[in-house]
Amino acid sequence: MNVPAAWYLVLAAVLFGIGAFGLLTRRSALIMFMCLELMLNAVNLTFVSFSRTLSDVAGQVSVFFVMVVAAAEVTVGLGIVVAIFRRRRTTSVDELSEMKG
């Protein structure tokens, strides 16, 4: 069975939307990280699908860069969450409102 490339793009867009929605609405820092990862992986899927339809390898190379960046980002992010948790015993962003914008 041959799945058209457009479907992959739609799937990626939906995943990206779920990630963005989750990041903006959820209140736990850890869940927000997961949403961030979901968004980046949706980007990877988009790159790969386009790479396939364009028969161009550059899109697949981009995916590796995005994966490396995502890994580095989550390492730093978890470090920050651990630092906050040690101090305040919470990872809910609602309780982190010392400053008001």
Partner: protein
């Protein structure tokens, strides 16, 4: 193997090398690296970057703009000048941070490992000619800054600021790279020049993909430069991060992000001018007005400067909006003059903030100029420069972008920006008047370290000298923009 022009990437290599060296020294030495040694190393690295940018300028002036590493990185007048600005900013930021590192609880080697790597990321951004390379530079810059914002473990606001910055910065990065993926799908390449050629030579049957991708790229950039309505993170992050880090953010991030934004719009998407102009128009109008109005109601000076920098971002975007050589030169000139001024301002704030870096109420500044005339006058000059008073660089910076916008047929938007500047003038002047107010509330003196003093003096001298004599700097910005890699 693509050929590599090492002169082009030398500045980034120097900073990465210095960052790794600092890390290795701190790991291998028995005692922790002293702040004096670490600062010297960082200042030296900044000066080497500045010297290299001069050598690059000579090369570009002689041979013209070029690209290297399979056209992913460019060496042109624009990138060279932006590199020089980042070099100067790094030197000043290191000097400002020195006094804080000496008295503070933060390890100097941690600070410099991260700030040098982050500056290298900014250098990658100003030279990047490929959407994926811009993304890499952006992430090297941002990931360093997330940790820098969290460095002060004695104030819980520091870690909170870092988390906010991380979540919204990560969100912005994801949006940016999704935009890059869509543009890749529409044009078949992520190289900026190649996108430009493709769009100049082809008519897209379904431009929706390109428009969506371009819009997402713009949103990503707008987050990074803190343009309204994507600015909500910036006051909290500016307030929570250690003051020297805030100064570093306000200067280096702005230079890197605006240079990359200009390159994307001018080099890749110039044929789509009519599509992106309205978006930038809205960003300019909202940033100048909202930034200035929100600054009025703040009591914390770091938040005030955060909103003030949003207002400035609006002005720089005005140069971008013009989309002409003059507009780009105006934006570059704005960055060249704004970076030292904002760094020196945060230098004063770091001194007044005290050893624990936590007293940033506007009342702390009442009567400062009466108790300490030199420090007070320096801050007054820096604030007046940000306001845009004649005889300071701020005036010519604003004048340049406004003129470019009017030239490009943007009378209304220039007027809106001017109204924003007028509102901003009120809070700058109020602050300056507070400096000279009678009956000082606080009586303890602010101790001025030698390194911070030097950095603040540099900022004041630069704004006054080039305010009286802006010709050379303006000519440099103009030349740099003309030597743009197509």
């Amino acid at each position: 193997m693509p050929s590599i022009d090492y002169l082009a990437i030398l500045p980034a290599l120097v900073l990465l090398g210095a960052s790794v060296l600092t890390l290795m020294l701190s790991a291998l030495l028995r005692h922790s690296l002293s702040a004096r040694v670490a600062t010297s190393l960082s200042v030296l690295a900044g000066l080497v970057v500045l010297a290299t940018s001069v050598a690059q300028w000579v090369d570009v002036a002689r041979h013209g703009a070029s690209s290297t590493i399979d056209h992913a990185v460019v060496l042109d007048g624009f990138s060279v000048v932006a590199t020089g600005v980042i070099g100067v900013s790094l030197v000043m930021a290191s000097l400002i941070a020195h006094d804080w590192l000496v008295r503070g609880p933060v390890s100097a080697s941690h600070f410099y490992t991260l700030s040098l790597a982050a500056s290298a990321g900014a250098l990658v951004m100003v030279q990047a000619n490929d959407l994926v390379v811009i993304f890499l530079g952006l992430e090297i810059l941002s990931i360093g800054l997330y940790v820098l914002a969290a460095l002060d473990r004695h104030r819980s606001a520091s870690a909170e600021a870092a988390l906010k910055y991380f979540l919204l910065g990560g969100f912005a990065s994801a949006i940016f790279i999704y935009g890059a993926a869509l543009v890749y799908g529409a044009t078949g390449t992520t190289n900026l020049s190649a996108i430009g050629y493709f769009l100049a030579g082809n008519v897209l049957l379904a431009p929706g993909l390109l428009v969506a991708g371009g819009a997402l790229l713009l949103v990503g950039f707008a987050f990074k430069v803190a343009a309204v309505p994507f600015h909500l993170w910036s006051p909290d992050v500016y307030e929570g991060a250690p003051t020297p880090v805030t100064g570093f953010m306000a200067s280096v991030v702005k230079v890197g992000a605006f240079a990359a934004l200009l390159r994307v719009l001018v080099s890749a998407l110039s044929s789509q001018l009519t599509t992106w102009r309205p978006i930038i128009w809205v960003l300019v109008a909202l940033s100048t007005l909202v930034g200035a109005s929100m600054a009025l109601v703040q009591r914390n000076v770091k938040r005030m400067l955060a909103y003030s920098s949003i207002n400035h971002a609006g002005f720089i975007l005005l140069g971008v909006w013009a989309g002409t050589v003059r507009g780009s030169a105006g934006a570059l000139f704005y960055l060249m003059t704004y970076a030292p001024v904002v760094l020196a301002s945060f230098g004063v704030l770091a001194l007044v903030g005290g050893a624990r870096d936590d007293s940033h109420d506007i009342d702390r500044f009442r009567g400062l100029a009466r108790r300490q005339p030199v420090l007070g006058a320096a801050l007054a000059v820096l604030l007046l420069s940000q306001l845009g008073v004649p005889l300071t660089t701020g005036f010519y910076a604003k004048y340049g972008v406004l003129l470019a916008a009017v030239d490009a047929g943007g009378g209304p938007i220039a007027l809106i920006a001017l109204i924003g500047a007028a509102i901003a003038a009120y809070f700058y002047l109020r602050w300056v008047l507070a400096l000279y107010a009678e009956e000082p509330i606080e009586t303890d003196r602010v101790s001025v370290g030698r390194a911070s003093g030097l950095a603040i003096a540099l900022g004041v001298v630069a704004t006054l000298l080039f305010g009286l004599w802006p010709g050379p700097l303006a000519a440099l910005a103009q030349h740099a923009t003309l030597l743009f890699h197509p």
